[in-house]
């Protein structure tokens, strides 16, 4: 599988240096970042990596953020965190990673509450979402609600570069962002993509979001919330049918030194069954799983 995946990434690099989500598609930031991380874990890919890093540097905006693809101009926190992570992994901390970190610090924000919601809460309908609205994080888009995935990707990257940016602001974002993620944990462990509770109903956790949250919160392995969520993830990963989610689950379980070797077989089976539907991002993540199996997990703070 490793050889196949590597070949697939190499031949699908676009002339501009980036990767699209699928063969022949225009370059986008997310698959480019994961492809660079994957190639960085395997030897003899210098030329492809240089071209890929060149692509990232070219499209970083003046504010330090990256847009999701080449047709968009608006920078987004989640891809900025991914692009920053890729550069950090391939080149170490530099001007681009510092600017990316600054962008994330600048785009950290708290949820805006509209007048209707404030009114509803004031007249006693309570907080239907059951979340602490005072806690900030990152959304998929500016000026919208804060979500688990963009917040966790941002937290992960900021933990990599925290020496670089204005320290008080950065530590403040990290601490509050982490509190926000813990606040959203589902009853019984694990994370949904958003809130844990809506309109009186508990929402269920998912392996992908739980893995991302646990990766972001890896500094606190013994906290009960982490342990409870890890327990959920270990069980859920056994049933997971998404290769994308399974890759993140494995990388997370590896960070927490949990047994995951049987899941690698499951991932290989999914590859043989579906070819990961041609998704280059998932192929790159599978290479990161193989790298973890050889002792190098790029999602480990000390390693990255």
């Amino acid at each position: 599988m490793q050889e196949d995946l590597l070949k697939s990434l190499t031949v699908n690099q676009n002339p501009d240096g980036g990767w699209g989500y699928f063969t022949g598609k225009r370059s986008a930031l997310e698959p480019t970042a994961f492809s660079l991380l994957a190639l960085g874990c395997t030897p003899n890919n210098h030329s492809a990596i240089d071209k890929g890093i060149g692509f990232l540097k070219l499209f970083q905006g003046g504010t330090g953020g990256w847009p999701v693809n080449l047709v968009s101009r608006e920078p987004a926190a989640w891809v900025t965190a991914l692009a920053g992570t890729a550069i950090q992994e391939c080149e170490g901390e530099n001007q681009q990673t510092q600017q990316a970190a600054q962008f994330l610090v600048d785009s950290f924000s708290r949820m805006k509450v509209d007048w209707l919601t404030r009114l509803r809460e004031r007249i006693g309908w309570g907080n239907s979402l059951n979340v602490d609205r005072r806690l900030g994080g990152w959304g998929w888009n500016p000026e919208t609600a804060k979500w688990v995935e963009p917040t966790c990707l941002s937290l992960f990257f900021l933990n990599l570069v925290k020496g670089a940016v204005r320290r008080p602001a950065l530590t403040g974002c990290l601490a509050e962002g982490e509190r926000m993620v813990y606040d959203r944990m589902c009853r019984g462990g694990g994370w949904n993509y958003g809130n844990a509770h809506v309109l009186g109903e508990d929402l269920r956790p998912y392996p992908l979001t739980t893995a991302l949250a646990l990766i972001a919160l890896q500094k606190y392995p013994s906290r009960p919330e982490n342990q409870q969520s890890l327990h959920y993830l270990g069980a859920a990963a056994e049933q997971e049918s998404s290769a994308l989610a399974l890759c993140f689950a494995i990388l997370c379980l590896d960070l927490y030194q949990q047994e995951w070797r049987s899941l690698l077989t499951r991932l290989e089976n999914l590859y043989h069954e579906t070819g990961f539907f041609g998704d280059l991002r998932t192929k790159a993540l599978a290479l990161l799983v193989i790298s973890a199996s050889q002792g190098r997990n790029v999602f480990q703070y000390a390693s990255a």
Binding site: F22, A28, R120, N141, W147, L199, S242, T274
Partner: protein, 326 residues
């Protein structure tokens, strides 16, 4: 003031606002007007997903002057997430039948496309939902619209207050967009049908999961602006087993045993709401869409096949939407 009273007042305000908008400047471009004097909606009995769904769909298609031959058809089902023993998604057997039906009608290409609203792991959804065998059996391509190439397009109406949005290239390229919703209650929009189903075409890569940007701009307003810009050419609504209560994910199965089809998405949606024993005129996005996209009034909708009265089956709704029953 109680929650229920407040929601009633809010709904009344919304309706009053929609009504008064007739006297305000129009919020849609002239080219977006596609309301016919009269619309047809086909209701066909389908007791289960084991019946000959292909023939039923072809029967439905034949009631319209829709030209399928040589066209690139994009089927947009409602695939949100899979959980055993739930009825969240358009049934894969119906999607498989639609692929076959459009092929038999001479379509040059049929693709199935969806951008699930909540989750990024669409690959798992294809496997767990049971759709993959239907795609493989028919050699049909699936496009994850969340990750598709995109193009920024000027909107044909302006309820959200934005001029343009990113749309997936596959949707813009197709000749026939077929919305295939599951008939479900929806805890924010009232009901989710062919128009709300179009949230799924909006690329998550731009708008996030669950496309929160659209929620913040107003669910009803977003539905109308998206629909006015890429209006479905045909609707095949899965009403065999529907969802009532706290939909669109946590509700209960509700067996109605029908397929509802038509080329006016507003009229099809209105009919589905009536089948559920609810009043479509109280659903804001339908009210707005009925000003220019299609027909809402029962008198302007000709029912073909089963009479509405014979298939009506009142749905349970959450307290916030009790007012839809009147």
């Amino acid at each position: 003031m109680h929650r229920r009273e407040f929601l009633k007042s809010a709904a009344a305000l919304g309706l009053a606002s929609a009504a008064s908008s007739c006297s305000r400047p129009k919020l849609w471009k002239a080219a977006a007007y596609r309301k016919a004097p009269q619309s047809q909606v086909v209701i066909l009995r389908a007791g289960s997903y084991d019946v000959d769904l292909v023939s039923l769909i072809i029967d439905g298609l034949k009631s319209y002057s829709l030209v399928v031959k040589g066209k690139r058809v994009l089927l947009k089902p409602n695939l949100v997430e899979y959980e055993r023993d739930t009825v969240i998604n358009t049934h894969p057997a119906l999607i498989g039948a639609a692929i076959e039906a459009f092929r038999r009608q001479g379509a040059a290409e049929v693709v199935v496309a969806e951008g699930p609203g909540h989750r990024r792991d669409t690959d798992g959804l294809l496997l767990s939902s049971g759709l993959l065998p239907h795609l493989k059996a028919t050699g049909t391509e699936f496009v994850d619209l969340n990750l598709d190439e995109t193009q920024c397009i000027s909107l044909s109406s302006r309820y959200m207050g934005v001029d343009s949005l990113f749309f997936p290239a596959s949707v813009l390229r197709c000749d026939l967009l077929v919305s295939m919703p599951k008939i479900k209650t929806h805890h924010w929009a009232g009901m989710t049908l062919s128009l709300k189903n179009l949230f799924g075409i909006m690329p998550g890569v731009h708008y996030g999961w669950p496309k929160n940007f659209l929620h913040w701009r107003g669910i009803h307003e977003s539905i109308v602006d998206i629909s006015s810009t890429v209006c479905p050419h045909f609707v095949i609504a899965d009403g065999v087993v529907c969802m009532e209560g706290n939909g669109p994910i946590q509700g209960k199965a509700k067996r109605c045993g029908v397929l509802v089809m038509g080329d006016d998405p507003v009229a099809v949606d209105a009919t589905c709401v009536r089948i559920a024993g609810l009043n479509p005129e109280k659903i804001n996005y339908l009210q707005m869409a009925s000003q220019f996209l299609g027909n809402l009034e029962e008198s302007r909708i000709q029912q073909i096949g089963e009479p509405l009265s014979r298939v009506m089956s009142p749905f349970e709704v959450i307290e916030a939407f009790e007012y839809l029953k009147s």
